[in-house]
Symmetry: C2
């Protein structure tokens, strides 16, 4: 078998970090199926060139020809631009990539007691305020009123809830296996899912999210070994910063998930380290959590690790867990060694330096 | 003249910290006008007693008899309860307290280079998702769809923007005065307002918020000395944790403001330290940022400082700036000394201990 990966660098540093991820994938050689990389267009720059942020051809190729994809990062205009709409939001919808899975872990520095943050944020990826139903009216006095619709469905909430419990279960099993093979595993208790919402204000929409996720656990014995807790989103941000070690898997509606994953990224040193996959039932797209960072674009100093780890996540979700583990081990080795770090981590290394250091340790 | 203050302890630790604030206000004696405290009911407990979370009588007394008020904290049911609606959200609307002003500052420990966080969050308090327009429908297949409306108006965005620029201007003047009197002032540059939004996704609603706030600065020369910047809300949470020292005044729509102020609270050690006022054009209500903390209710270990500082903020907004400064100095002295700290700050002192330590230093 062979693998066809759509590569969508999009804007800014996306164009620098995605090629780094590609080099790492290429270096795996015969450990994974022969992989073809298909360059595809999308983004703000593409919009300015050809008038479409997400060309139909990109969607068509992804759907008809590719097994999976990697996405870089998008720039956005800060004001409303006629005809422009975020291509990443659109892609998630077009491909029904309903889950944005974002593992956030502290770097495993030896001699340290263990990671203080090792959580996975499971973000709903298709609805909430991201359905982009907005309108604006001008009143008689010239003042304006704008309305947006926030949509929460039992369907989307249940499937993201299921994904969260599945991930928690798998993490529990992996920890168990590691423990049995004599490894020191830092998380002691049962796996845990924390439902993030704001049902004290949004009792109907967030109430539905909350109930749908709870029903997943309550509808089966399968997740009996997984604890379930809740946090209001404001309190979640507070507690993540005060005691990140209490979280295992967090599941959240789209916007809260967006916010708390940036928050979690701050806890582990840099957004430049945090990978994600946008996952659906039959397609998956890796994507670093960071943005297009126009301020450092073109300088070859963007941290490629978020993208490289996203490639590992992608492989893992396609079933190539050994190759994924190999990539992650190489990344961790480079981080722990500390010789090749990009400026976001206080280092002086370039994107290329870090990529090559990782390639060497593969 | 005399002052009549509505006191609404509401639920949980609100009933412990509000009396502490009252004791401090009473101790000011003739430094402020003779003050009468009017106990008023509201909250989840009140709902369970009398079927209304916000009794009409409470609103009437506040409107007709009181000059200002202090609010404690509310508990909320995590599920939808028929007839229940958050009384604090309702009060903000009934009294048109359109701004929630939340100063978040590190404790000034001597010998330290200076605060790493000294910002004011100016949160819009009347709209966004807090208008509570929600509905739910059951589809033919039994699945459910819930919708909430998020409202942003130019009116509300402009007035909150104006409030933010006024606060930034005043902070700039205060720093200037302090500098001129030989004090070491940590913030070096011009005052700054950071507009927090997510206009890359919500281009119409957050676009309107953003433009309305920008127009405040652009419509006059008055704020020429105040810098204006923007942050997407996800990025704001990230940067607050990475470099809190770059923020002066942040202005945000309701929900983002809620989230980032809890985040900022984590930066300064405890939610138990962070005060706020809900301010309108002719009424103001002090309120600690923390919640009702049912887990520590009735143990006399809640931190009273957020409430005491809220009382100081209230006085300051009523024009009694000297008394406000006196309270804040007493609080800072107790914190810097470090002998009387509640458990949220790693200490063993009780609510009463801390209150008495502050009273002694008044
Ligand atoms: C670029 C933006 C639309 C996007 C989002 O909000 O989802 C980004 O912040 C992310 O987290 O992937
Ligand atoms: C209790 C809740 C409704 C409230 C809010 O979200 O405004 C609280 O979190 C706050 O910050 O005052």
């Amino acid at each position: 078998t062979a693998l066809k990966l759509g590569m969508i660098p999009a804007d800014g540093i996306g164009k620098e970090v995605l090629p780094a991820a590609q080099r790492v994938l290429e270096a795996l050689g015969s450990a994974i199926p022969k992989t073809t990389f298909v360059p595809l267009q999308a983004g703000w720059e593409e919009f300015n060139r050809n008038g479409k942020a997400l060309p139909d051809e990109t969607v068509r190729v992804l759907k008809e020809e590719c097994d999976a994809a990697m996405f870089g990062s998008v720039s956005s205009p800060s004001h409303k631009v006629e005809g422009y709409s975020s291509p990443i939001v659109a892609l998630r919808k077009h491909l029904d990539l309903y889950a944005n899975v974002r593992p956030v872990s502290s770097v495993p520095i030896p001699g340290q007691p263990g990671p203080t943050c090792d959580m996975v944020i499971v973000r709903e990826n298709t609805e909430c305020l991201y359905i982009k139903k907005e309108e604006i009216k001008t009143n008689a006095d010239g003042s304006k009123i704008a309305l947006a619709t926030r949509q929460i469905t039992s369907h989307a909430s249940s499937r993201i809830g299921k994904m969260a419990f599945e991930i928690a279960l798998r993490r529990g099993q992996e920890r168990e296996a590691a423990r049995n093979s004599g490894k020191d595993v830092w998380w002691k208790g049962e796996p845990k899912v924390t439902i993030v919402h704001k049902s004290n204000v949004l009792s109907i929409t967030d109430g539905l999210f909350r109930e749908s996720v709870r029903a997943i656990r309550e509808g089966t014995d399968k997740y009996n070994g997984v604890k379930m807790e809740e946090q209001l989103v404001d309190s979640m941000v507070y507690r993540m910063f005060r005691e990140p070690e209490i979280f295992d898997v967090a599941v959240a509606p789209n916007l809260y998930g967006d916010i708390i994953s940036d928050g979690a990224a701050a806890l582990v040193g840099s957004l430049g380290l945090v990978p994600s996959i946008n996952a659906g039932d039959d397609f998956v797209m890796g994507e670093p959590v960071h943005g297009s960072a126009p301020d450092i674009e073109g300088k070859n100093i963007a941290n490629p690790i978020a993208s490289i780890r996203s490639a590992a996540l992608l492989l893992s979700s396609l079933g190539y867990t050994d190759s994924a583990a190999k990539i992650n081990a190489a990344v961790d080795a480079v981080l722990v060694e500390g010789q090749y770090l990009t400026p976001d981590l206080g280092g002086k290394a370039s994107t290329t330096d870090v990529t090559e250091a990782i390639l060497k340790r593969l």
